[in-house]
Amino acid sequence: MANKLDIQIRAERQYAVLETAGYLNDALGEKLSKKALELIEKGYTQLVINLDKTALINSIGISILIEIIEALEEREGTLNFCGLSATQERTFRMMAIAKYAGIFPDEKTAIANF
């Protein structure tokens, strides 16, 4: 199974969207974390992570997402997720991620809810 990892970034004035493609494991997670921390360093405190093109996430990948949530919290920022499958959303809620980050069906709604 090919696992093409990719991250697309769309940075606007008030927020930035990071869209992942591929299996969110430690490798893609580290790439995502690096990009997110760069955006936070540039002053972005409202981030969306769009997981629509990520069919599978493992617990290491999720632990890296939690680090991004924590990094944003330190700057009083907000992370909204979108594009999650039902299983991903269930897992995120089980891990209490939904208490500290937003979960929305699509990118437009995630952006509108900052």
Binding site: M1, L56, I62, S85, T87, A96
Partner: protein, 144 residues
């Protein structure tokens, strides 16, 4: 390499190398689809299998660096046995991979979720662990 060991069982051996858990998950997807599991159930199976493999990769210290996965197609569901020949582990005493800064919120901890995810996504889970290795047996039932 996947081997058919009977009409209703497939055996897969994977090396403990990065992303090899995806091979196990993809085979599970093919088998589950053939058994008419729903898309959501197939994803649940894949995630549980991935976590089981990662658990073996990270904790088993298996000398042969291999994980053996048996896929058993039952009339009432799909059963998996994920085995390694490592040192065994205690679910209560597990630690996890990468450590970073301390958790900001204890309820949203960064470590130790693998087995909880497996339990949440499968209908039954049994873990046997000893000095000759660990086997996680788990079943996804074909319920509507």
């Amino acid at each position: 390499m996947a081997t058919t060991i009977s009409n209703d069982q497939v055996l897969l051996t994977i090396p403990m190398r990065p992303d090899m858990e995806l091979a196990a998950a993809q085979l599970a997807s093919v088998i589950a689809e053939s058994m008419s599991f729903s898309e959501e159930q197939i994803e649940e199976i894949q995630v549980a299998l991935i976590e089981s493999c990662i658990n073996a990769f990270e904790h088993s210290q298996s000398p042969d660096r291999q994980v053996i996965i048996k896929y058993i197609m039952r009339t009432d569901g799909l059963e998996f046995e994920i085995s390694d020949q490592g040192v065994g582990f205690s679910p209560e005493n597990r630690t996890q991979r990468r450590t970073s800064k301390p958790d900001l919120h204890p309820e949203m901890r960064k470590r130790g979720w693998g087995l909880e995810i497996i339990h949440a996504l499968m209908d039954s889970v049994d873990i046997m662990s000893g000095e000759n290795g660990t086997t996680i047996s788990m079943v996804k039932s074909k319920t509507v």
